[in-house]
Amino acid sequence: MIAAFGLLVGVLLGLFFRPDVPLGLEPYLPIAVVAALDAVFGGLRAYLDGIFDDKVFVVSFVSNVVIAAAIVYLGDRLGVGGQLSTGVIVVLGIRIFSNVAAIRRHLFHA
C-alpha cells in the first residue's frame, strides 16, 4: 500500500515540478529508468515468491541503475553509445518480460 502510494507521490512530484534534466545526465536518465523498472519488477516477483528482502531490493535497485548508466557512459566514450544503450535496453526488456511473466503466473495462475 505504502509502496503504491510512494509511486503515486513520485509521479505527482514529477508532474508538479517539471524539472529540467541536467545536460550531463540526459543520455543516462532513460536507461536508468528502465534499469530501475527492471529492479522493481524483480522485487515484486521476489515478493510473490516469498523471498523478498528489502536490503537486497535496495542494493539491486541502486546497482542496476548505476551499472546501466555506467555502460552507456562507457559506450559514449568508446563511440558506440547508441548501440550499447540499445543493447542494454534489449537485455533489460527481456528481464522485465520474464519477471512480468513470473508475476503473472503468481497472480493469475496462468
Binding site: M1, A3, L8, E26, L29, L37, V40, D49, D54, L107
Partner: protein
C-alpha cells in the same frame, strides 16, 4: 482497502500464495514497504521527468553530432536562400514602386497638358479672374474690324479664354463676319450690345485695350460706348464642341 480482501478462491493451503502475500502487503505496512515506496517514488519521478524532457524536445534529441551539424547546415542554407529571396522581392518591389510613381508623374503631366489644351480649344467651361467689356452701339454700328482688333489685343495681353454675349466661345478657329443687324461669329448671329468676357490678368487686359488709337478708341470712333469692368471671377460657360481634325495630324518625327 475494501476491495483488497483476500481472494475467496480456495487455494492449496500450506505455503502462502503470491496473491495472499500481495493482499497482506496492501493491508499491513512494514519498514520494507517504506523503503520500496521511496525507491518507487524515485522511479516515478525520473520516468515522468524523462517523458517530459522527451516531449519538450523530441525533434533533435536522438540526433548524433554529425546529424545535428547536417541539420544546422541545411537550416543555414535555407535561411540564406530565404534572405536572397527577400532581397530579390524587395528589389522588385522598389522597381515597381518607382515605375508606378514615374507613370503617375507622366499621367499627371499628361492630364495637366490635357487641361491646358482643353482650355485653349475651348471644350470645357472655365472660371477665373478677368474683365467684362460691354460695347453698346450708340451713334453707329461697331465696325467688325474694331471688334476683331479688340479680340487680337486681348489675345496679345494674355487672354486665356473669351466668349461673346455668353454664347460664342472665341478660340483659334473663330471667324468674324458681318451680319444683318450685327455680326456673325462662328456662324452664330450676334446683335449689340456685345459683351465680351475675358479671363486673364485683369489689369494687363485693360492695359492692352487702353492705349492711344487702341481698340477702345476705334470702337468709340465708330460711335459705340465701351465699358470695361474688372472682375474677381468670371464664368465662361459656352464651349466649342471638340472635333477631330480631318487633315492635320501630329507629326511625331519632330
Amino acid at each position: 482497502m475494501t476491495d483488497s480482501s483476500p481472494d475467496p478462491t480456495p487455494t492449496p493451503a500450506a505455503p502462502r500464495t503470491g496473491r495472499q502475500r500481495l493482499s497482506d502487503a496492501l493491508l499491513r505496512p512494514s519498514r520494507a514497504q517504506v523503503v520500496v515506496a521511496v525507491l518507487l517514488g524515485i522511479v516515478g519521478f525520473a520516468a515522468i521527468t524523462q517523458v517530459r524532457a522527451y516531449e519538450v524536445d523530441d525533434t533533435y534529441a536522438g540526433y548524433r553530432e554529425q546529424a545535428l551539424i547536417d541539420v544546422l547546415n541545411g537550416l543555414a542554407g535555407t535561411s540564406q536562400r530565404a534572405q536572397a529571396e527577400i532581397t530579390r522581392l524587395e528589389r522588385a518591389r522598389d522597381d515597381l514602386q518607382s515605375s508606378t510613381s514615374s507613370r503617375q508623374a507622366a499621367l499627371d503631366q499628361a492630364r495637366q497638358q490635357a487641361d491646358t489644351l482643353d482650355i485653349l480649344a475651348g471644350t470645357v467651361p472655365v472660371t477665373g479672374p478677368g474683365i467684362r467689356i460691354t460695347v453698346e452701339e450708340v451713334d453707329g454700328p461697331a465696325d467688325i474690324d474694331s471688334l476683331l482688333d479688340t479680340v487680337q489685343e486681348l489675345r496679345n495681353s494674355g487672354a486665356e479664354a473669351m466668349q461673346i454675349n455668353g454664347e460664342v466661345r472665341v478660340v483659334a478657329q473663330t471667324a468674324f463676319e458681318d451680319g444683318v443687324g450685327g455680326i456673325v461669329v462662328d456662324g452664330t448671329p450676334l446683335s449689340p450690345p456685345y459683351v465680351i468676357d475675358v479671363i486673364g490678368e485683369p489689369s494687363t487686359l485693360v492695359g492692352g485695350l487702353n492705349f492711344a488709337a487702341g481698340p477702345i478708341d476705334q470702337l468709340e470712333e465708330d460711335g459705340a460706348t465701351v465699358d470695361v469692368d474688372e472682375l474677381q471671377s468670371i464664368d465662361i460657360e459656352s464651349i466649342v464642341p471638340a472635333t477631330r481634325s480631318e487633315f492635320a495630324e501630329p507629326n511625331t518625327e519632330q
